[in-house]
């Protein structure tokens, strides 16, 4: 009795949803935008599931007659990149090999730089920060040649540690920026308390600050995973033959001169390559927004 009563009153009190013209316009606009961005993805997906004869019929928008995953298998394991015919799988594992350590090293160094800049203010810290930020605006092209020379001198050119170092260096400005901004929003008294409690430079960082950094760590991971995974130029130049990342491998498959163009295989390979950043966005979009808000540019 009471139940029904309360539910009926609550439904009575509920404000009527008013769908105004403005709302409809906004939704319409958003739908059109998403269609615009989803269309290429749709084409990649359906083409990868078609057979070559079907593709040759020329209707790229049409739904595949039968779902055919042969192209996916071929793209993953037997498609040819020049002389080797091992698909993009080699590139996938190379990219993982580059990604994991680069991710760890670049985020940690960025976090520590940000930590130093917001808590261990030394003489010239502002200038130092300015220089790091300036680094973010120098075009890659201007740096590549001198970096090749330097890396070659130290025997790092074309090696895995080399490409990891390159990603760390290029990621450092933005990583430092977001961590510095995040740490400057935390109350400095926590830092002081930890110092009085006897925590040293790394003690404060690992015991106190890092556990408080989850939101900004998520932002950093998303930025770096997508950045490093999507990288083509640096991997091509600094990775060496052994460590060609997936993007480079994809390019080699697509541009492979031999035989007729296998659009379905190319599309499947493209999709496979895009899968990692896609999944990252898909599962962390909400966190990303939250983290960006938490580390909002300040100070």
């Amino acid at each position: 009795m009471t139940m029904t009563q309360s539910s009926s009153t609550s439904s009575l009190n509920k404000p009527k949803k008013i769908i105004s013209k403005e709302r409809i316009a906004i939704y319409l606009f958003l739908i059109i935008c998403s269609l615009f961005f989803l269309l290429p993805l749709y084409i990649v997906l359906v083409t990868s599931l078609k057979t070559m004869p079907e593709i040759r019929m020329g209707n790229i928008m049409s739904w595949p007659e039968t779902w055919n995953t042969d192209a996916w298998v071929k793209a993953w394991s037997t498609a040819c990149t020049g002389l080797q015919c091992e698909g993009v799988s080699v590139g996938f594992w190379n990219s993982i090999k580059i990604l994991i350590p680069s991710l760890f090293v670049s985020i940690m160094s960025g976090a520590i730089c940000g930590y130093v800049l917001s808590y261990w203010r030394f003489k010239g810290a502002e200038l130092f920060f300015g220089i790091i930020l300036f680094g973010a605006f120098i075009p890659y092209q201007a740096l590549i040649y001198p970096m090749i020379k330097i890396f070659a001198t130290f025997g790092l050119y074309g090696t895995l540690p080399g490409i990891i170092l390159v990603h760390t260096i290029f990621g450092l400005p933005i990583m430092t920026l977001i961590f510095r901004n995040y740490y400057s929003t935390l109350p400095s008294e926590i830092f002081k308390a930890a110092r009085v409690d006897g925590a040293g430079f790394f003690g404060v960082f690992f015991h106190v600050l890092l556990p408080m950094s989850t939101p900004i760590l998520i932002v950093a991971v998303i930025l770096q995973v997508t950045g490093i995974w999507n990288d083509f130029l640096l991997g091509l130049i600094f990775g060496g033959r052994e460590n060609m990342p997936m993007t480079v491998q994809l390019n080699n498959i697509v541009n492979s001169a031999r035989g007729a163009k296998e659009y379905n295989v190319n599309m499947a390979a493209t999709f496979l390559t895009a899968l990692v950043p896609l999944l990252v966005y898909f599962f962390s979009g909400r966190w990303f927004v939250r983290g960006i808000a938490a580390g909002a540019v300040k100070g």
């Binding site: 109350p187 002081k192 930890a194 110092r195 009085v196 409690d197 006897g198 015991h207 556990p211």
Partner: protein, 363 residues
Amino acid sequence: MQNNTNTAHVSAKDLSVSFGKVDVLKKLNLEINKGEFLVLLGASGCGKSTLLNIFAGLQEATDGEVWIDDRNVTYMEPKDRGIAMVFQSYALYPKMTVRGNLSFGLKMNKTPKDKINELVDYAARVLQIENLLDRKPGELSGGQRQRVAIGRALVRKADVFLFDEPLSNLDAKLRSELRVELKRLHEELGATMIYVTHDQVEALTLADRIAVMKAGVIQQLGTPDEIYKEPATRYVAQFVGMPSMNFVTGKIINTSGGTYFENGDIKISIDEYVSKQPLRDGQTVELGIRPEHVVLDVEGFNTFNVDIIEKLGSELIVWGKVGSTSLTLRAEPESSVASKEIRKLSFKSSGLNFFDPETGLRL
């Protein structure tokens, strides 16, 4: 713990701090005795926190030294100074439980596990936070958080405790409760405590001695009684006391019949006032007199136009004027004074203070 005899003498020697062109502390000297409860009192921005941070080793002085007992600790790390600190914003580690917060410092200096538990349990018992040990700071009220923050200082078994406005974020009732508890804690521990506040009630109730600061300089160092009864400067006089002291500018008049203070509206005999230097005839001075030393008195010589009356329960605060001179006075709650009344009043000669209007120094 019962056998705690940790305590130390602290001294600041010619401490100066500047940020660029701004001098925050100016050649400050301060000796704090073993086991003393010293309160640094001053308005916002006068450099109290800066001084405390320098004692703690969290900030570097531009010049000068800090000594704890016979050690020059000026360049020593905070953890090596034998200090503990409680902050205004509690500054608890948000991702650790209360137990984690209390034991963090002990873990850092590699105290054995059972000793840590013993100390944490002791602090939790003293501060009555035993039932909160497994909670995170986010799940505590403001008062509970501040207790944890005090507990975190307590387990360190420091010689010197530094408090930076620890109660200012709490409501009035909690503040007075914790104030009493801090006082008791000090008596039990016997440790030296340096306590920053801009709340004069806290200062007067807690302190063995108060150092009143203004713009990086200590204006007066003395017991609460001395600060209240014999303020060394006009600034100290108006800063301490609620409601504030009355100030009246006037002249000294020396006659064969005695010495008087006069400003056109009031004339007070000041023969009983013990001045540091002789008051000259015709000298312009500023009279300071607390509201409790201005009394309604049917035999008084001054005609007082009552303006407003504030009823505070235990007393009345009466605002009004003698001629064009504004005065505030304290009265008994049962006294029959009403607003817009005309009364007579007199001044208690024991409550007179005179200041130099130029320098602000006590005469």
